[in-house]
Structure formats: structure tokens, C-alpha cells
């Protein structure tokens, strides 16, 4: 899922130096973010990092205290209404009108956005297994979420702003959601996907931004992000491999019977591999960092040294960014 349009058009979302305070709480502290048209952009970060705040500023519901935000080339605060015809939003905590049915809420929100594709709406109700005849107050959390998802996905829009859209959905519905997002990107839509479900982001996202304490600490494709971290290697060689342990970029090496295990920085990998080859490798496993390990590195207050692959990238360490 690479992005053919990258760089050719205005970015779908462009944020630079965004600031937002709630009284004495600093929610956003110089946030930069760029989402290209046609991509699915994963937006990750611990609770309270500022994801929802960012999305609400992109919707023009909140006003930024500083910095600049552009959505589809326009200022979201000044041109909210025009933009809202071209985008759809799913909040993480959907509140429905107690006396309107789910179907009425879907139609209403779609019409207020400028029109809803009736056939697609019915199809989505089917796929998400939603009973649209129930009153809003009788829906469970997951079903409320489905109402907002269907209303958003049934509209012909260019951009989807999804703030933890599947919180409360069961695994079956999660799969339906993922195929819907794939269809949306196939149709050329852009998706900003804030989520705590890493498997979802790992599968769907072309690029990922990790936000912590109001600013983005890491941004790139999953491959690029992996490159910035260490891979765990365990190897068996014909000749003693002690020379490896003194190479730059190799950490925490130790012998484990005949095996040698160590972590390698992404950029040191080619050198290490060349060296290993000359020692006569008889067995080798290399484990790339999971997204979870990547994230935990950024989520913790301190660099989570004990977590999986350590940090191979001092200059980008969150400790330097966090305030």
C-alpha cells in the first residue's frame, strides 16, 4: 500500500507548531504532522497525549492557541463548514440522541453533511450487523460506535478523521472495519486513524506518527520506524564470534550455550551481517521490533530500557523532546 500520489498534491493534513492549552494544562505543545492525500495515517500515543485535541482542532471545534493547521489546503477554524462537506468524523465516544433511532441518526448526520449514499448505507448496516430501528439510548457502546462509523463511511468524502473509531467493537466487526478502510483507500480517500489497537494500525497504516505529551516524537512508515530501533539477533557460528560484540551498534551481547544473542541498531545491520558471514553462520534468527515495542519505548516516562529492543537512537529519544 504505497502511496502513488505522495508529494504531488497538497497534503490532506498539514500541521506545524500547533499549540493548545486548557487553562493550565498544555495539551498540544508544538505539534507537527503531515498526512499525504490517499494514505492511511496511524496516530498513536498514550492516554492524554493530545490525539483527540488535535483532531478537534482539525475539525474547527477547538481553536488552536498557536501554530498552523491546514486541512485539504484550508484553515479548519475559518472554513469549517466548507471542509465538513469533504470530510467525515467518528469520535471515540459516540453519544446518540436518546429518542432517535440509530437509522435516523445515520440519515440525519449524512444529510447534514450534504448527502448520504442510501445503498451504501444499507450495505454497511448489513455488514456491521446493526439494527437501525433501535432508539439511541438502547444501544450498547459498540453499537453506538457502529452508528457513527456507518454515518461516516456511507458519505462520499475525501478525508476520514477517525478518533479511536473501533473502541468497543468485537473482533468480527474489527475485521469489517478494516476491510471498509481498505475500500476507502482504494477509492482514494485519506484516513487519519487515531487508535490504541496496534494490530489495526500495523495492518492499515501506510505511515504512523507517535505523539507524546502534545508533540510528535516519531513519524514515518512502519519500516522506517523499525529501522530506528534495534533488531534482536541470536546466531550460531563455526568460529568464535566475540569480535561481533565490540562492533559499534551492537548491544547487550551474551552467550547462551552455543548461541550468541545481541541487539543491533538498524543502521549497524549491514556491517554486522557482513562480519557474521565471514564467521560461518550455522543458524540465525532475527526478530524485528514489534510496533508494541516501538511504542512502549515512547510511552513510558523514562526510556524503557527493559523493554525488548533498547533505544538505538539517542538523538530521537523522547527524553529530549518531553517537557
Amino acid at each position: 500500500m504505497t502511496n502513488a500520489k505522495q508529494g504531488t498534491a497538497v497534503p490532506a493534513i498539514q500541521i506545524s507548531g500547533l499549540r493548545k492549552r486548557y487553562g493550565s494544562v498544555t495539551a498540544l505543545d508544538g505539534l507537527d504532522l503531515r498526512v499525504e492525500q490517499g494514505e492511511v495515517h496511524g496516530f498513536l500515543g498514550p492516554n492524554g497525549a493530545g490525539k483527540s485535541t488535535t483532531i478537534r482542532i482539525l475539525l474547527g471545534l477547538l481553536r488552536a492557541d498557536g501554530g498552523e493547521a491546514r486541512v485539504l489546503g484550508a484553515d479548519p477554524w475559518a472554513s469549517a463548514v466548507g471542509l465538513h462537506r469533504r470530510l467525515a468524523y467518528v469520535p471515540g465516544d459516540v453519544e446518540l440522541w436518546p429518542n432517535l433511532t440509530g437509522g435516523e441518526a445515520i440519515d440525519l448526520l449524512g444529510r447534514l453533511r450534504g448527502g448520504i449514499n442510501r445503498a451504501r448505507r444499507d450495505e454497511l448496516c448489513d455488514r456491521f450487523d446493526l439494527d437501525p430501528r433501535k432508539k439511541g439510548r438502547t444501544y450498547s457502546k459498540g453499537n453506538r460506535q457502529k452508528v457513527a462509523l456507518i454515518a461516516a463511511l456511507a458519505s462520499d468524502v475525501e478525508l476520514l478523521l477517525l478518533d479511536e473509531p473501533t473502541a468497543g467493537l468485537d473482533p468480527l466487526m474489527e475485521a469489517v472495519f478494516q476491510s471498509c478502510i481498505r475500500e476507502a483507500t482504494a477509492a482514494g480517500r485519506t484516513v487519519l486513524l487515531s487508535s490504541h489497537i496496534l494490530a489495526q494500525v500495523e495492518v492499515l497504516a501506510d505511515r504512523i506518527s507517535i505523539i507524546r505529551k502534545g508533540s510528535v516524537v516519531e513519524s514515518g512508515s512502519l519500516r522506517e520506524l523499525r529501522h530506528l530501533t534495534r533488531t534482536s539477533v541470536s546466531v550460531m557460528t563455526e568460529h568464535p564470534a566475540d569480535a561481533i560484540t565490540s562492533l559499534p551498534g551492537v548491544h547487550e551481547a551474551h552467550h547462551d550455550g552455543e548461541q550468541l544473542t545481541f541487539d543491533v541498531d538498524g543502521e549497524a545491520m549491514p556491517v554486522v551481517m557482513r562480519e557474521l558471514a565471514s564467521l560461518g553462520v550455522t543458524g540465525l534468527t532475527a526478530t524485528p521490533p514489534t510496533l508494541e515495542q516501538l511504542l512502549l519505548r515512547h510511552y513510558g516516562d523514562e526510556l524503557a530500557a527493559g523493554v525488548g529492543n533498547g533505544n538505538g537512537n539517542g538523538s530521537k529519544a523522547p527524553a529530549g523532546v518531553a517537557r
Binding site: A80, V81, G82, A88, S140, D170
Partner: protein, 556 residues
């Protein structure tokens, strides 16, 4: 974590050891303490606030009527139908004293205040908690089925006791008869108690705290109107005085502090509390946590085609309230209109001072009907302010966010809501006026009254719009301050009904938007005033629409 459709959340299975499990009051003490802690400011705000209001009224009277003779001139006032409607039965007016006048004139408003205090306190600690889901967290702990309701009632009872003691003590401290002072304090607390019980029943009926408070409020408002009829009848020696005995306000007033000092009517209030609270417990045992008694019906899978604009949505969301208000105001109009002839008869030998309120003896009939127009304008204002408060709840509860995330602009949303409310105001004045007109024409046999009465009611719309516009402006700029609109209401109410007899300076009267249009048919209608007020309302609304663009939406 399954998320398949579960229609109602059931109480979480209790993780308690067997010996505690099942005790329906388990956890009462900690809940009670927790509620008091949550309410530490509210508690004193209400109890001290009501007491200080009483102290203020007492002081005003002492200043306005420094001697017994000054008061005597107003003595007759306490025993005529119009005063009876607005103040109560006026016991002891034949030998008036300051304290009799005080509780006779202002007592009812303190009783209403205490009733509201109880309605809001009980719903706040029961249905509001259930609706928000917090009750689920609480009930999952060592908390019995009846503990939350019991703790909420305990808080309310404590507030009533404090109000009764503070008021009784303060009046006695001011040198009034101690026995009467205590009876008055107790009468205020007793009405509060009755409404704590009524609210305990109401919160079981519906899933929505605002609906529950609305039902209890309707009982209070209906009680106000009913006892008004009864008291008016009593004041002119009619046979309908028993109607006053149907309402908690009536029971408290029948204690007649400083005159008869009767305790037994207050026993009815206590009995009402016991019965209604018991009903509340019984009903609560028959329903699930967070559910109402009436299960929700399934509705349509598609929205009707008209539901496609912010205006349509605003109407859809206010529809139920509009229907309820229309029926109530029409019925109240009928009742008061039907009372017209009896009212005129009762005035046959009234002293001239009290006719001031009606614009003199020759205008009795039209004066009464004109005053009714103002009263229903006041009621309609309550509707308008409550509508603005609902808009605020829409936002605070997170339902405005998805609307404003569509192609609906902020001015369009606020403007639609305000427009629906403004049209609703006209409609409600029409409904009340229609009832009043039918009743008046029928009871007096003067068919030509019909048009005049209807016009006299609807003509107040621009004044109500002005208050509505102020509420909209408060919402647009700082939604937390919407309740300030009640100050406008309270001011206009006092000026409208108590201003004429208290010789308030002209400028003070003119400040109320309700004093310009005229109480048709007893006074001329001022078309200029209607146009000017409409323009003012439109101007304030425009400022609100513009102002709403500039603030952050309140988000969770």
C-alpha cells in the same frame, strides 16, 4: 468483552462475600458521606441562600413599612383573589403584622425554592448518576440495591432540616413570635420533604434525569396553579377552596404561621414523603439499573425526509417538550379562564387599594385577563430558558459535536435552536391564550372577549423573546452562565406582580422587558414596544450567533 446488543445494562453481579451480599442498604454510610462531600458547596448554597432570601425580604418590608399604620394600608391586600393567586391564602390579614405579611407575601416563593432544591438534589444523586453510568461503578462495589436512593433522600432530608432550623431560628432571632417562626421554618422544610418523595418516584419513571426533574417540576407547577385557584376561591368565599388542599404548597401554607400555627397540615406533607418515597423504592425494585419503567419501543430504520436540516433537528429534539407544555398551558388557561366570572363576583366589595393591580374597579374583568396574560408570559419564559439549558446539555453531553462536525455552521445550529424556541414561545402563548379565551368567554358568556384575550396573551411574545435572546447570548459566550437567565426571569416576575403595589421607581420597572407591551385588554397594546423589543431580541440574537463562532466547543 462482548459488545453485542444488550438493551439495558444489568447491575453487575456483586462480588461480595455472602454475609454482606443482599443487604439492600450496604454501603449507605459511605455513600451518604460521599454525597455530602460532593455537595458541600451546593448544600450551603441552597440552605443559606434560601434563608438569606427570607432575611432580605424581612428587611425590605421593615424598610418599606416602618410603622404598623403603613402596613395597615396594605392589610386588605392580603385577602383578595389576585393576591391569593400570587401569594396564597393571606391568613390574619384582618389584624396584620409584619411577620404575617412577610410569610403571607413571600412564604410561597421560599416554599417553591425549597421544593426545587429537593427535586434537583434527589435527581442529581440518583438518575443523573445512573444516566452517566457512574452509578454502575458505585453499585459494583459493596453497595446495596436501595443504598443510593436512601442516601440521596437522606441528603435531601438533612437539607430540609437545616432550612427549617435556619429559617425558624432566624425569624425568632429577629424578634418575631418563636412558635410561629418555627412553624414557618417547618412548613418550608415540609414542602421540601414532600417533593423529595415525589422526586424519588419520578426518577424511577424515566431513564432521563431531565425528564424526571421535569415531571417533578410539572407536579410543582401544576400545584402552584391548582392552589392558586383554590386560594382565589377562598379569598372571595367561593366553594373551591378545597383545591388548595391537593398540593404540597397548600399544606405548607395552611399551617398559617403566626396566625393559627397549625402543625397537622405539615403531617400531610410528611405522609406524602413517606408514601411517595415508598413508591419510589417499590418501583426501583421492579426495574434494572439505568433503565426506566417503560421499555423503549423500536422505531423507524430511516429518518423521515423532513429531518434533514439543523432546524428540523432542533424541532425534533424540542418536540416532546413542546407537546407537554402546550397541553399543560392550554389546560391551565382553561382553568383560569373558567374562573373569570367567579373572580369578578369576588371583587364585588373589594377595597380600592388592591384594585391598583388591575388598573381600577372599572377594569376588573379586563384587568384580571390582562394579568393572566402576563402570568402565562412568565410561564412561557420558563419554557424558553429551559430550552436554552437543553441546548447546553446537548453540548455538554457530547451530542453537539457530531452535528458541528457536519456541514452545519455554528450560527446555523444556535440560530435554528433559538428559532424553534422562539416559534414555540408564540405557539405556547397561543395555547394558553386559547384556553384562557375559551374559559373566559364561556364563564362570563361574553363571546367578544375571545379575540381580546387571545391577542393579550400572544402579544407578550417579543418580551419573552428578549429573555430568550439573552439566554442564547449567555450560551454562545459562556455556556456555564446560562442559568443567569433565571435572574432576568425573577426580576421581571417581581416587578410584574409586586411592583405596582410597592411603588417601585419607574426606571426599575422599565428595566423589565415585560413592562412595555401592555397587559391587553386592560391596557393598550404598544405596537412600538413590540417592534422595539423584537428588534432588541433580534440584535441580541445576532450578537449570540456571532459570538458562538469564537469559543471552543465544550468537549469531554
Amino acid at each position: 468483552m462482548s459488545t453485542t446488543a444488550v438493551p439495558t445494562r444489568r447491575p453487575s453481579p456483586s462480588p461480595l462475600p455472602a454475609r454482606l451480599d443482599g443487604h439492600p442498604l450496604a454501603g449507605f454510610r459511605s455513600l451518604f458521606r460521599f454525597m455530602l462531600r460532593r455537595d458541600r458547596i451546593r448544600f450551603f448554597g441552597w440552605t443559606l441562600g434560601l434563608t438569606l432570601l427570607l432575611a432580605y425580604f424581612a428587611n425590605v418590608l421593615q424598610v418599606v413599612f416602618p410603622t404598623a399604620e403603613d402596613l395597615q394600608a396594605f392589610a386588605a391586600f392580603s385577602a383578595n383573589p389576585a393576591a391569593a393567586l400570587l401569594m396564597g391564602p393571606g391568613f390574619g390579614s384582618e389584624a396584620i403584622t409584619l411577620e404575617r405579611f412577610l410569610v403571607g407575601t413571600y412564604g410561597m416563593y421560599l416554599i417553591i425554592g425549597a421544593s426545587l432544591m429537593n427535586i434537583l438534589t434527589v435527581t442529581r444523586h440518583t438518575r443523573v448518576e445512573e444516566q452517566s453510568g457512574r452509578a454502575e461503578l458505585v453499585r459494583a462495589n459493596v453497595v446495596g440495591r436501595y443504598a443510593p436512593l436512601t442516601a440521596a433522600l437522606a441528603v435531601a432530608v438533612l437539607m430540609d432540616l437545616v432550612v427549617a432550623i435556619l429559617m425558624g431560628g432566624m425569624l425568632a432571632g429577629m424578634g418575631f413570635d418563636a412558635g410561629g417562626s418555627i412553624v414557618f421554618g417547618a412548613s418550608v422544610g415540609a414542602a421540601g420533604l414532600a417533593f423529595a418523595g415525589i422526586a424519588a418516584t419520578c426518577v424511577q419513571l424515566t431513564e432521563f434525569s431531565r425528564t424526571a426533574a421535569g415531571i417533578a417540576g410539572a407536579v410543582l407547577g401544576g400545584g402552584f396553579l391548582l392552589r392558586g385557584l383554590g386560594d382565589m376561591s377562598a379569598a372571595q368565599g367561593g366553594g373551591l377552596d378545597w383545591i388548595s388542599w391537593l398540593t404540597p404548597i397548600g399544606w405548607s401554607q395552611q399551617a398559617a404561621p403566626y396566625v393559627h400555627d397549625r402543625w397537622w397540615p405539615l403531617a400531610i406533607s410528611v405522609a406524602c414523603f413517606v408514601v411517595c418515597a415508598g413508591l419510589g423504592y417499590a418501583l426501583s425494585a421492579r426495574r434494572d439499573l439505568a433503565a426506566g419503567l417503560v421499555a423503549a419501543r423500536r422505531g423507524s430504520a430511516y429518518a423521515p425526509s423532513w429531518l434533514s436540516s439543523p432546524f428540523a433537528l432542533a424541532f425534533r429534539l424540542q418536540r416532546a417538550s413542546l407537546v407537554g407544555w402546550s397541553l399543560s398551558l392550554f389546560a391551565a388557561g382553561l382553568a383560569y379562564g373558567g374562573f373569570t366570572q367567579a373572580m369578578i363576583d369576588g371583587f364585588a366589595d373589594a377595597p380600592p387599594e388592591l384594585l391598583v393591580l388591575f388598573g381600577g374597579e372599572e377594569n376588573l374583568l379586563t384587568g384580571y385577563l390582562g394579568l393572566m396574560g402576563l402570568m402565562f408570559a412568565m410561564f412561557t419564559t420558563v419554557f424558553a430558558i429551559l430550552a436554552m439549558q437543553s441546548l447546553r446539555s446537548e453540548e455538554f453531553d457530547g451530542r453537539t459535536e457530531p452535528v458541528l462536525a457536519t456541514a452545519v455552521s455554528r450560527p446555523a445550529w444556535l440560530g435554528s435552536w433559538t428559532a424553534v424556541t422562539a416559534l414555540g414561545v408564540v405557539w405556547l402563548l397561543f395555547a394558553a391564550g386559547l384556553g384562557e379565551a375559551i374559559g373566559a368567554a364561556a364563564s362570563t358568556g361574553e363571546g367578544e372577549l375571545f379575540n381580546d384575550v387571545l391577542l393579550g396573551h400572544v402579544a407578550h411574545a417579543p418580551a419573552v423573546w428578549t429573555t430568550l435572546a439573552m439566554a442564547a447570548l449567555l450560551y454562545a459566550v459562556t455556556p456555564r452562565l446560562v442559568p443567569l437567565a433565571w435572574a432576568v426571569f425573577g426580576y421581571a416576575f417581581l416587578i410584574g406582580f409586586f411592583g405596582p403595589m410597592l411603588d417601585v421607581p419607574d426606571a426599575v420597572v422599565q428595566a423589565s422587558p415585560y413592562e412595555h407591551i401592555g397587559e391587553y385588554p386592560s391596557e393598550d397594546l404598544s405596537v412600538t414596544a413590540m417592534l422595539v423589543l423584537t428588534a432588541i431580541a433580534a440584535g441580541i440574537t445576532a450578537a449570540a450567533l456571532a459570538g458562538f463562532r469564537h469559543r471552543d466547543l465544550v468537549t469531554a
